[in-house]
Amino acid sequence: MWCQLFLYHINPWENRKQLFEQVGVQFQESNYPDKIRVRELCEETACLYRQPSSYGELLQKFGLADKREAFVSELSGGQKQKLFIVLALIPNPKVAFLDELTTGLDTKARRGVWKSLQELKEQGLTIFLSSHFMDEVEILCDRIGILKDGRFVFEGTVQEAVDLSPYERLEDVYLWFTGEEETGDE
């Protein structure tokens, strides 16, 4: 099946440069060169965009200002995740894609990242978040989509999802939608 996808009326295959000026992406795995410092990684990212945000301010905002000269590899898990949010925000994007942002973080670091995301939302940034944690989804997301075998089986608000299913907790709702509720007994 052929599908054509447009984001902000831009075809991502024909005009990828134009589109990626407006998009911020954070990947699940952290990917950066060995022996690179926080400031250098930010500089390299910022120089690729026409109108980047000030990474100094972003680092400040995410509590990483004192880590500017540290090696990225020396940061803690939570600090790294925050740095990757900073990198995703450097383009000054209209939309940010964040992939399993809080996997592997301790409770405190997770809460810190949530707070940052809430603030970004309030400023009007569109965020696509993928997550395995239903508590996170309930707190952060205005609209959710549930994927099964690569296709949406539900799209709407958390409340709508709960109403459609026989369950109350989003975790149970999720399992019900994906048809995996029984597998726990095997």
Partner: protein
């Protein structure tokens, strides 16, 4: 600051921190030059020649860094970045493969030119070598040889599926070229059978051109080498850009 210079500055710093190019592209040529200098001193290249054996070797020694950066450094850097998914991150930024490849080529070009200066300094200060060719002509030839050898490395890095494959291919290219093309072991002392075999290697052709340019011999004598070098540059460079893989 300009985006090219910003990238170049940081990538160069990262490369310095890695140390391997400092050893293989900057130190090694000086070491080999010194060894040849100590062995051959002021001896004539062939009895009655107007230039010394060492002066004849300058062109070859200046390519050790080209070989290290082009067929070892470049492909390993690119495949390492692909394996670490750094290229995947660049894929979703408004940048192009050509831009990134240009930055990396610039890094190894800087190493090569630095090495050229150091080798030249060593030979002229400590071993009394004179440069008889035209500087401009030599530099142009040097850049042509550099770009064509680099394009081989770009192609390997651009299309090798993973770091392991890239490093195997790089080794297969690097060691024979380093030893048999005349870059370290002088071409003139090889038996003629080995010379014939060495002529297949692109770097051998490049070194012939550089020798002619540095000794002030007519470039007409090496026109076939020039054609071969251009062909390598265009074909391999073209393949590298056309078939570049982000991930």
């Amino acid at each position: 600051m300009n985006k090219f210079l910003t990238m170049l500055k940081t990538e160069l710093k990262l490369s310095f921190r890695g140390m391997d190019m400092i050893i293989f592209a900057l130190c090694m040529p000086v070491v080999v030059a010194t060894i040849l200098g100590v062995i051959y001193g002021n001896r004539e290249a062939i009895p009655g020649a107007e230039y010394s054996f060492l002066e004849q070797s300058f062109g070859a020694l200046s390519t050790i860094a080209i070989c290290a950066g082009g067929v070892m450094g470049l492909p390993l850097l690119i495949s390492d970045y692909r394996q670490k998914k750094i290229l995947k991150r660049y894929k979703v930024t408004p940048t192009s493969p050509t831009f990134l490849l240009a930055v990396w080529v610039a890094i190894y070009a800087i190493y090569s030119l630095l090495s050229l200066l150091i080798v030249f300094g060593t030979l002229s200060l400590f071993f009394g070598c004179r440069f008889n060719g035209s500087f401009g002509g030599f530099l142009l030839t040097y850049i042509l040889v550099m770009l064509s050898i680099f394009s081989i490395g770009l192609m390997v890095g651009g299309i090798a599926p993973d770091m392991k494959t890239a490093s195997v291919i790089a080794s297969i290219l690097y060691f024979p070229m380093l030893i048999f093309s005349g870059a370290t072991l002088p071409y003139e002392v090889m038996p003629s059978v080995l010379q014939k075999a060495a002529d297949i290697l692109p770097l051998t052709q490049g070194i012939k051109m550089l020798k002619a340019a540095s000794l002030g011999l007519p470039l007409e004598s090496v026109w076939s080498s020039i054609v071969i070098m251009f062909a390598f540059m265009i074909i391999c460079g073209g393949i590298a850009v056309r078939f570049f893989k982000w991930e």
